[in-house]
Amino acid sequence: MSVLDIKDLRVEFPGRKSVFVAVDDVTLSVDAGKVLGVVGESGAGKSTVGNAVIGLLQEPGHIAGGEVYLHGKRIDQLPYKEKRRLRGRKIGMIFQDPLTSLDPLQTVESQLLETIRTHLPLSRSQARQRAIELIESVGIPDASERIKQYPHQFSGGMRQRVVIALALCAEPELVIADEPTTALDVSIQAQILDLMKKLCRERNVAMLVITHDMGVIADITDHVAVMYHGELVEYGETTQVLGAPEHPYTQSLISAVPRPDIKVERFPVVNYIEKAGTPQKQIDIASHWLGKARDYEKVTGPLVQIKDLEKRFETRGSIFPSRRKYFQAVKKVSFDINEGETFGLVGESGSGKSTIARLITGLYQPSGGSILFGKTELTSLKNRKDVLAMRRQMQMIFQDPYSSLNARMRVSDIIGEPIKFHRLASSNAEVRQIVDDLLDHVGLGAAAGKKFPHEFSGGQRQRISIARALATRPRFLICDEPTSALDVSIQAQILNLLKDLQQELGLTMLFISHDLAVIRQMCNRIGVMRHGELCEVSDCDQLFEAPQHPYTRELLNLMPSLELLSRANLATA
């Protein structure tokens, strides 16, 4: 008998205008000692499945049909009190963000003790003993000392270990992990996944892992369920589903996943999810405003030369200079970007890669070093006119599609603002025409200009961002994690768009990402960053085939292997 059996589950969220069916007709089961992955993109309803099982659906959501069995006993209709007794005791849960999952005002020990003693008839000292053992078993050294500490004294990865320990307090039979590694860096993600796999086998726990990440699925799951718009489209053994997907959605999803091991020219066009992916009206770049007047001065040698760039932030202010404390975000970094190439910067959070982008664009002032753009030294520009002339030549695309557009402005005003501000068009009518063409060109259509940003999805907003960046006719484009907030299929479309634009306009790009696989698809040369230092710069293929720096090798090793994934539909470069 399986530990968890879900039969024909249907979850509804009654709304003002209509009932939103988050999950429909989902049937799954998980066995002891096995890991089932539920994978899907935003809005697929995968988290809702987990919340429905443990009985924590957000109001007014409710189970509208189907049955949930734990060890053959039906649990979805239990009264509140009995349902609560299952939580923690029989079913453990791990949340996404370890930084917010723990009560900041209680020690780790007191949170463990209260959970253990709620579920198990143990004395205080027995419970304490058990807490220490648990903390040891999740791989935190000095357990008896560290449990006396508060959550803020633990790093993100360590906190996620504490969260896992809390979920395992009362030996549950089923653990539901909702995006357990999404908020973590690659290296820590690998450790946490290993730990989860190990605990699952050792303790013979059934595990339900909810994730959007194919890497996680390939790494730890035995079975996988693929969800799309609340429905289960494919369900089976992981090797089977990933290696030979049957459903067209699964096929397109898998073909959209960037691989570190192969470089593709373009991602296959997936029209399964979002329709607005094709250019509405082709404009002839060469004769159009966008392609004309690219009368930038010619450069000999690299377009951007960065030398000994440094940036430090004050972390503690004081009137006495000796008592001030600094965080060195960028340490003596030097690299060049050649005209027309895409240079990639890769690194984990806090490695200083985004800081470099902001130093080049002038959002931050460097603490030292030089940035040469063409023949102009950016760090010594004083004259406002010169600064503006430089700003016009370099633009940036940001990470978060939700906050990178002003919610109170119409799309046409957002894109028209840089054109008007830099006086790049002679009349308002011309501005309007250019905006319409830009919208067409990025695949949204001119009609989008009349709307406000909230009427668009994440991928569409990122297209608006790209149109805005193009509106100053830049020669240098900085992309700061442009797709890390997007679903894979939409990421593939945006990456394709960026590649096309670069070829058409001959743009030089600095592409920043934490994701080595994406970097491999986009870049000619790559710099690897760690703790503010540049470890290594090398050609794309060389970096992946023959990494020089030990840190690069470590990063490559930690990447979840995607070799399982089907390679149908992929045109390799």
Partner: protein, 324 residues
């Protein structure tokens, strides 16, 4: 801990210094102090002599320094109206104001906190909605009108409680008089304390409710529920404790405000405290009393804030223990 407290004391001193500067500016430059002190028949020579004697011809910085030194020793000059030292006038009236403020603060906290917790935990219950409606009426009725209504109801119509004054008081020590020890003194306290405390009570209640509602949405509360902890633990050990930090800030501010709000209540009930004296000073442009009152309220306020900061220190471990 010592560094933390020292920093806070330094900040408090800066605030006090700014307030002192304001009070001094008022004292020195609003109207001519000499004109207020002497009669019309005083000759110009006599005025000059007095000016010299009082040091009003010294450089402004020197005068300010003298003002602060005097203020630190509770010497705020002489009242224009009463021709008495301001500090003596205040000493006589401080007990009345403090007893009134203390009683209403107690009332606001004892009633406001449980109501707020209840309404925060049971958002949809009819009792919560009742609390909320009552509280809205509480903040909508101006304090003085509540006083008038209470007087009209309990003093004029029903004649149960006195409408003005402190009732009989008992002398304790050389200068403290208390109304706590006599029946009439206690009866006299009831209406003014409710009037004064009602507004703070509703504010505290609404604040706790709002904070509770926010904390209940956090991930750690959801995680606590997902671990199967009983509601009692989730609500009180986790949710309530986390609402305390913002609640203590605002509560501190509100308790400080009670002393200033006492002005209104004291006027309505003819309560012989310093607020009533301050109001008369404002009407008669008695600057020494005004500037002394300004500094006194600022001092009480700064002290309350300091206590609040120290309380934080004990509640929030993030202030106490650094990261590894």
């Amino acid at each position: 801990m010592i560094g933390f407290a020292a920093r806070r004391i330094l900040q408090a001193l800066i605030v006090m210094l700014v307030v002192a500067l304001l009070a001094f500016t008022m004292f020195r430059f609003v109207g001519d102090p000499i004109n207020q002190m002497v009669g019309i028949e005083t000759s110009i020579e006599e005025r000059e002599a007095l000016r010299e004697r009082l040091g009003l011809n010294d450089p402004v910085a020197v005068q300010f320094f003298r003002f602060i030194t005097n203020a630190a020793q509770f010497d705020f000059g002489t009242s224009y109206q009463f021709r008495q030292p301001v500090s003596e006038l205040f000493a006589k009236r401080i007990p009345a104001t403090l007893e009134l403020s203390f009683t209403s603060a107690l009332f606001a906290l004892i009633v406001g906190i449980p109501m707020g917790i209840y309404a925060g935990l049971n958002r949809e219950s009819p009792i919560s909605k009742l609390f909320l409606s009552v509280s809205l009426i509480g903040i909508s009725l101006p304090t003085f009108f509540i006083g008038i209504l209470l007087i009209f109801l309990f003093s004029v119509t029903l004649q149960w409680l006195p409408s003005f004054g402190r009732g009989e008081t008992v002398q304790i020590g050389s200068w403290w008089t208390t109304g706590f020890l006599t029946i009439s003194g206690l009866k006299a306290l009831i209406l003014p304390s409710i009037t004064l405390g009602l507004y703070q009570m509703t504010l505290i209640m609404r604040l706790i409710r709002a904070e509770m509602l926010e904390v209940i949405r956090t991930d750690y509360i959801k995680f606590a529920r997902a671990r199967g902890l009983p509601d009692r633990l989730v609500n009180f050990r986790h949710a309530l404790k986390n609402t305390l930090v913002p609640v203590i800030t605002i509560t501190g501010l509100q308790l400080g405000a009670i002393i200033a709000f006492a002005t209104i209540t004291e006027t309505v009930f003819q309560w012989p405290g310093m607020g009533l004296m301050f109001l008369q000073a404002v009407q008669n442009v008695d600057i020494p009393i005004m500037s002394a009152y300004l500094m006194l309220t600022a001092f009480l306020f700064v002290t309350i804030n300091f206590i609040v900061d120290i309380l934080y220190f004990f509640i929030d471990p993030r202030l106490r223990v650094g990261r590894p």
